[in-house]
Symmetry: C2
DNA sequence: CTTGACCTTGACGCGAGGTCAACCCCTCAT
DNA sequence: ATGAGGGGTTGACCTCGCGTCAAGGTCAAG
């Protein structure tokens, strides 16, 4: 005959846990000796070990209670489910190991692979780190709001960034982003931009596909907003562009002539 | 700028969880818009994903809070500990899978391997199942109270059980265990027992080692108690043995002569 | 103007015990 | 016989990471 602490020790649990199982009706209350102490037999040892085996496998005690009185078929089915859950938990922990290991470094946390590759390409092209950080934050916001468009967008950006003319403009804009709003060099910059757009327009007329037209309005609005927020000078540039007959930032278009 | 549900979705968590992190000081409260709604930037996305990465790895939120503001060395050390814990949890789940799989069948739950082997040998020798169950329960109690002695005891029992004389006595006792306490066949049985002891005694004098003498008193008391509890007729047998000048059950000895 | 989706704070609930508190019981040494 | 120590007993509150109301305020669309 065992005392409660001996029973508990035989299954490697605490006395408190055994009493908890009694309170929950998982383990039947044994008879008491003359002084009111609980006294256990071998069957209690077996039962307690069964409880712990299931509980250690992550089965909730309420489910353990059902299982202890289940028939063989139901029990076998339950064992199958438990095993499946354990395998899943093992898989999740393996994935967690990978993610935690990547935690120390980089952009991978909040961005998909292709966005990370795009940012890396910007670094290769010599874009200043500050500009890359702004760009990264912008893409994080886009990814948060419209993750389903990210892969198309990144494909587009990676194509654009390989065009030397676009890269040249990019560098001009990066440089300009630090200028004050009333910097005298701004009008000349905008003139160069407009000339470039008009050149592109002609090229497009020659039959080159205009990839941007596939972007939906909501996405364009988001991209515009994000970049206007991120780059202080962007609003001023937009004003100057509109004065020259163009509007939009992501989806650049000629304004309708003002006389209409 | 993101609303709380957009932020939450970007990290795959619930809105409630994000608010919980604010309340715990894990994620700084962002600024509010005109209507009092929270508005988040890209940094919040990154931070939230960091929190979730750690939390998904099983790090308590209080620890996450420390880690987010820890220096690189402390952080790297913590990552090491987290990875170690994850590996341990994977190992535990693998072991749980094995134990759960064994749950459906048998004695292995509450007994060590050698005790299971001993019970299997009893079955091979044709011992009735009822007697084996009693014996199993007795050994479970012994294992619960003195697990450190089990391997020696089982070695001893396995040796004994290979001695045909012992096996013969064993069968007689098994049979007798079902008799009423006043069965007329009992005295003859005890006579046979005593004759066997005396024979053993002579054999021992011849130089055979007496293994039992290495058992300590506490263990002998436990074994006696367990078997006297388990087999109703054992007490009566003990009385009869003592009338013939022997005492003890596990550690059988001649009584001192009554005239002293 | 209403509906329905979103946001706010605050409070309680759960699951598996841990951790007191306050008391009883038994044994052993003084 | 007396106290100390190491069992046992019940009961009540604490923990953690949110889920789930409750009781509203806000916003865009029909």
């Amino acid at each position: 005959m065992l005392t409660i602490s001996q029973l508990a020790a035989s299954a490697g649990v605490t006395v408190r846990a055994v009493r908890h199982y009694h309170a929950k009706g998982l383990l039947p209350e044994p008879r008491r000796d003359a002084s009111g102490y609980r006294r256990y037999d071998a069957a209690a040892v077996v039962e307690l070990i069964r409880i712990r085996t299931l509980a250690d496998a992550g089965v909730p005690l309420s489910r353990v209670q059902e299982l202890l009185s289940a028939d063989d078929d139901a029990f076998a089915a339950a064992i199958g489910e438990i095993d499946e859950r354990l395998r899943r938990e093992i898989r999740e922990r393996r994935e967690a190991r990978v993610r935690v290991a990547r935690l120390a470094a980089g952009d991978h946390l909040a961005l998909p692979d292709d966005a990370v590759a795009y940012l890396r390409r910007l670094r290769e092209l010599g874009v200043p780190e500050l500009a890359i950080e702004m760009e990264r934050d912008a893409w994080i916001l886009v990814a948060a709001q419209m993750p389903e468009h990210m892969s198309d967008l990144m494909a587009l950006k990676r194509t654009q960034i390989e065009d030397p003319a676009v890269v040249a403009m990019y560098f001009e804009l990066v440089e300009a982003s630090a200028w004050p709003l009333d910097d005298p060099r701004l009008p000349a910059l905008v003139d160069r931009l407009v000339r470039m757009f008009e050149h592109e327009e002609h090229a497009t007329d020659d039959g080159r596909p205009t990839v941007e037209l596939t972007l939906d309005d909501e996405l364009v609005a988001l991209l515009d907003e994000v970049f206007l927020e991120a780059v202080p000078i962007a609003r001023r540039l937009l004003q100057l562009l509109e004065a020259r007959g163009w509007t939009g930032w992501t989806d650049l278009r000629r304004l309708p002539p003002p006389d209409r």
